[in-house]
């Protein structure tokens, strides 16, 4: 791996971690799992500018480090399940090249929430399914917001 790429990826991980921290400062709504997903900005940026492997590495590293720094034991399971599902969806969707990064971000946001619901289902039983509608809604809304900003980043920042 070239030095430049190592530095770029490290910067993306660092930025993603800062965005996670900034997001944790925002007041949280009453429903668990409803969040903006600001860190996904860096994952989408990496997906479009560096490649899918790099994006996956950045996302998983971020989840691990953020859980270690600010989270508790359960939060790693929830975030990891969300991140893996969301990554898989975004990578596949980007490969089809039929949608812009706004839709990629929306699918990422919704799949992240679905991953969390599945984890909660395993840990706490099927009643968590009642959160699904509101989490799909919030994932879509957050995905549009993050995706719009990611689109700007992807367009304006030239890594060459």
């Amino acid at each position: 791996m070239k030095t430049k790429k190592v530095a770029l990826m490290a910067m993306c991980v660092a930025l993603a971690m800062i965005l996670s921290y900034v997001e944790s400062l925002l007041p949280s709504p009453g429903v668990p799992g409803v969040k903006l997903g600001l860190a996904n900005l860096m994952v989408i940026f990496a997906l479009y500018k560096l490649g899918w492997g790099e994006a996956a590495g950045i996302s998983l590293l971020r989840v691990f480090l953020v859980s270690l720094l600010f989270g508790h034991a359960a939060s790693l399971m929830y975030s990891a399940a969300g991140a893996v599902l969301s990554l898989a969806g975004m990578i596949l969707l980007k490969k089809t090249d039929k949608l812009s990064c706004v839709a990629v971000s929306v699918i990422g946001g919704v799949l992240h929430n679905i991953g969390q619901i599945l984890t909660a289902w395993l840990l706490m039983g099927p009643n968590v399914v009642y959160y699904l509608p509101v989490l799909i809604l919030s994932g879509t809304a957050a995905g549009v917001a993050v995706g719009a900003v990611a689109a700007l980043l992807v367009r304006r920042i030239d890594l060459k």
């Binding site: 039929k98 839709a103 706490m124």
Partner: protein, 126 residues
């Protein structure tokens, strides 16, 4: 400058967003249709049931060694206090439908409303 969105992609984006919103709406309606007033509040710690109370049984119950305080009043249940940092469980408010639950992730505790009547025999020790 090349436009970010080809129009075809923008249309496809809107279709994806619209179908997700529709999906959320349908799920909400379907899940709502199966919703009934519950009868019992079941408390689980680490996925294991620790206690249950009827929704008619008014009172204040410390859960999980006092980590969360459960209040049952006027047919509704809620957590009034907790020692977790985010207090999400307290913010989740009052519940009374069958299947509704309050979850405190840090304390791995859940309070769920179930249908039917409370039965003293159902109280599991340990």
């Amino acid at each position: 400058m090349k436009r970010l969105f080809a129009d075809k992609k923008r249309r496809a984006d809107l279709i994806v967003i619209a179908s997700l919103l529709l999906l959320a709406l349908i799920l909400w309606l379907v899940l709502g249709a199966f919703r009934t007033e519950g009868g019992v509040v079941v408390v689980c710690v680490d996925g294991v049931e620790t206690e249950r109370h009827a929704l008619t049984e008014e009172g204040v119950y410390p859960l999980n060694g006092g980590s969360n305080i459960l209040v049952i009043s006027e047919g509704q249940a809620w957590l009034s206090e907790a020692n977790c940092p985010d207090l999400l469980c307290v913010k989740q408010g009052k519940i009374h439908y069958t299947g509704q639950s309050i979850i405190c992730l840090p304390n791995r505790l859940s309070v769920t409303v179930e249908g039917g009547e409370a039965n003293a025999v159902d109280v599991v020790a340990g």
